[in-house]
Symmetry: C2
Subunit: 441 residues, 2 copies
């Protein structure tokens, strides 16, 4: 993408009212624009990152055996009355009436809708186990939206739902999602720590939040430091690896504020391993058995003929929130530093002097050749050298290829690593040769 | 995907109340489920097709130079009051109040929101031309939703918006989108005919509907037959090809009912070329100049310093409706016949007798090898031969690979073309050799 044709409205001034770094950087980098309180427009750069994160989540859900469908955003109030949550949910639920005066709402989550689906299709043990997921916009009418897309009203969520015949199988599904979450966040360059958590309005008694440690987080957390050293299997066999890996994580003490108990923290964690920090919730998994299937009469017949409620859990990832979480975890004073896996473009190409025709030819040629193996943001604008370099550091593409007047004489270019700031001078022909050999994934 | 693990709730009985073939087939093939009146759940097979169609549209928008962003579903009423359409839109607009009693609505379209964006960012001729697009759910509270996803309330739409300094440039953007629409529908195996149309509540005086000819269509159309023979350039240079190609289409008479005038039809089209049919609208393009930019004070400064309203157009494609339109255009008495480009899976693999262990080994091996170059739906279930063949014909994957007991003795498989019904017997080893050579795209 040539920057002259792109739509990248970066800001020079520091945005007022943006309290946390990710919000400030997303505004400055031209990733988002507030449409109204707590509701955001995803400008092209922000949208590109959102899609990358969505893609990783989708792949890892599929790897774990989950099947994608898509439920609508607008739901009938009837199914929420059936579960009893229509009154419980309070003012956070966006309610409305359709033209025939029927109560409808913008889904804040989908337990009711998917349970209704399961009650129609999963009547025999032969159809189970199943994990279904969708990636869809949700709405929660936050009383005080803040921190940009971190706590906003309209947000993109991946939510999965598991359906099993027995509690034992249900816990296995829970473990699969638990493990896939570890992998998902790892692929985004994040260390997410699973912590015992309250299950709140979703219900059930087994629940973990996946939390990124960050000083700007909203939740206070109490963690056994040794968890930070744990490894995630490189290639996962979900049938075999789930239970063991989950146990290797859950044996350590790690809780959110709601579940914190001073005595057990001190009893279970040696002083040198106690970590008290703040964190950002990026995922939440729940096992709630028959909480929803019972009122929906979602029953399944087992091999021996017995009929009982389907055993269920639900598993959420905050897709749009993750864009901010990655920034909180990966930035410096110059701006964002994207992990390769979620960067809006693989590589940045900068022509420092587009008035130099020979240089323009060299850069155009490079750009066209690079495009066959990667996505490139090519700064071909007539902005000043300072503006170009500052802007590219701000928007955080991990690898920058920089060419100036000297590139014409010396036939060289500069390769800059955004994270370390280190630069390497390379011969242009050599660079082109390498292009064909090591294509970025 | 092994069918035993998939979620494909096909129906044996003919669905009641489904009037048109696409609706009937989508229900029977387990593609959708109605959540409430006019609101649908996209089950995995339907979702897979929806994503394929979305992907083609995204690629062709990008090829035409449009840039993707994402606007939220919930909009403030304020911007609609500014354009004057808040009152005009009537009961079709889903209106609500947030917890602070502010008027908000579920966007039925996005002219206001994008014009508001343009008024903040496109102040100089240097920032234009721009075409921005997004693919987002919309809501229109139809008084009588019908024909399944063809006329439903919550639907997925791709909408683009063009921004130019002059009317001349604006028309060029219009032509680019016009041409990209021809290409987009062609890639889905559809012949979409652009017709002069009323611009209705969107406004402006230049507008074309893209219409698939089908007896079940809602609109009556009057067309010069010779348009059906026109070709679309194989590879398009949008800067050079747009105007000429558009003129080669618009020189023929083709109108929707609203614009029909008997006299001009008879005057402009020789009797043997007059075609009167029904059609399904799948796209609609509008050029409306400053209709929205004027009330939003979205002004741009030209090279010479003059300041004038940005010239705009909008361009919609019904993404979810297209799933139904493709089926209307491509089915037979047995079921759906997907064009390769939008098929939920590239290939179907059927094991007619999973009780034969040797046959299972052969099929499993085939399946694993096929997966490296294509997506496969593998029927490994214990259903009867009849059920398997009927179901696979119903869901319409264009290529079926069928193996039965004889495959073990003869080391052969049957390749069936869903459209023609023709079958070819091939040696299994030869088939595997071919796999490596001609990978489906």
């Amino acid at each position: 993408m040539k920057l002259s044709k792109y739509f990248l409205p970066t800001l020079k001034e520091l945005p007022k009212d943006a309290e946390v770094m990710s919000h400030r950087l997303m505004l400055r980098a031209g990733m988002i624009r507030q449409a109204s309180s707590g509701i955001y427009i995803w400008l092209p750069l922000g949208h590109a990152v959102l899609k990358k994160i969505e893609h990783i989540i989708r792949e890892e859900q599929t790897n774990a055996g989950a099947i994608e469908l898509l439920m609508p955003t607008i739901q009938s109030a009837d199914i929420w009355k059936k579960s009893g949550r229509y009154d419980d949910y309070g003012a956070e639920m966006l309610r409305m009436k359709d033209r025939h005066n029927r109560d409808i709402l913008y889904g804040p989550t989908n337990e009711e809708q998917i349970t209704d689906i399961s009650s129609h299709y999963f009547k025999s043990y032969k159809t189970l186990p199943k994990i279904l997921f969708h990636i869809q916009w949700k709405f929660r009418d936050e009383v005080r939206p803040r921190f940009g897309v971190m706590r906003c009203k309209e947000f993109l969520m991946k939510d999965s739902y598991s359906f099993d015949v027995t509690e034992e199988d249900g816990k296995e599904s829970y473990n699969k999602m638990f493990l896939s979450y570890l992998k998902t966040f790892q692929r985004m360059g994040l260390k997410a720590v699973p912590m015992q958590a309250e299950s709140g309005p979703i219900g059930g008694n087994l629940s973990h939040e996946f939390i990124i440690l960050a000083n700007t987080g909203e939740s206070k957390v109490y963690v056994d430091k040794r968890m930070l050293e744990l490894n995630i299997p490189e290639s996962i066999d979900y049938e075999k690896d789930s239970k063991g890996t989950v146990e290797s994580w859950t044996k350590y003490y790690a809780v959110t504020e709601d579940m914190y108990d001073e005595k057990s923290f001190e009893k279970n964690v040696d002083e040198e391993n106690r970590l008290v920090m703040r964190g950002i919730e990026v995922g939440h998994v729940f096992y709630f058995g028959d909480k929803y299937t019972k009122p929906f009469n979602a029953n399944v017949q087992d091999k021996d003929g017995t009929i009982s409620p389907i055993q269920s859990g639900s598993y959420g990832i905050g897709v749009s929130r993750l864009v901010a979480a990655v920034i909180e975890a990966s930035h410096d004073e110059k701006g964002i530093i994207w992990p390769e896996s979620v960067s809006p473009f693989d590589t940045a190409l900068i022509n420092l002097n587009p008035k130099n025709d020979e240089l323009v030819n060299i850069c155009d040629n490079l750009y066209n050749k690079m495009l066959s193996s990667q996505t490139v943001l090519y700064d071909d604008t007539s902005n000043s050298v300072g503006e170009k370099l500052t802007r590219m550091d701000l928007i955080g593409i991990p690898k920058q290829i920089i060419l100036g007047n000297k590139s014409v004489e010396n036939k060289t270019l500069e390769i800059k690593d955004r994270r370390s700031g280190e630069t390497v001078i390379e011969n242009i022909d050599k660079f082109l040769e390498h292009l064909n050999n090591d294509k970025p994934s």
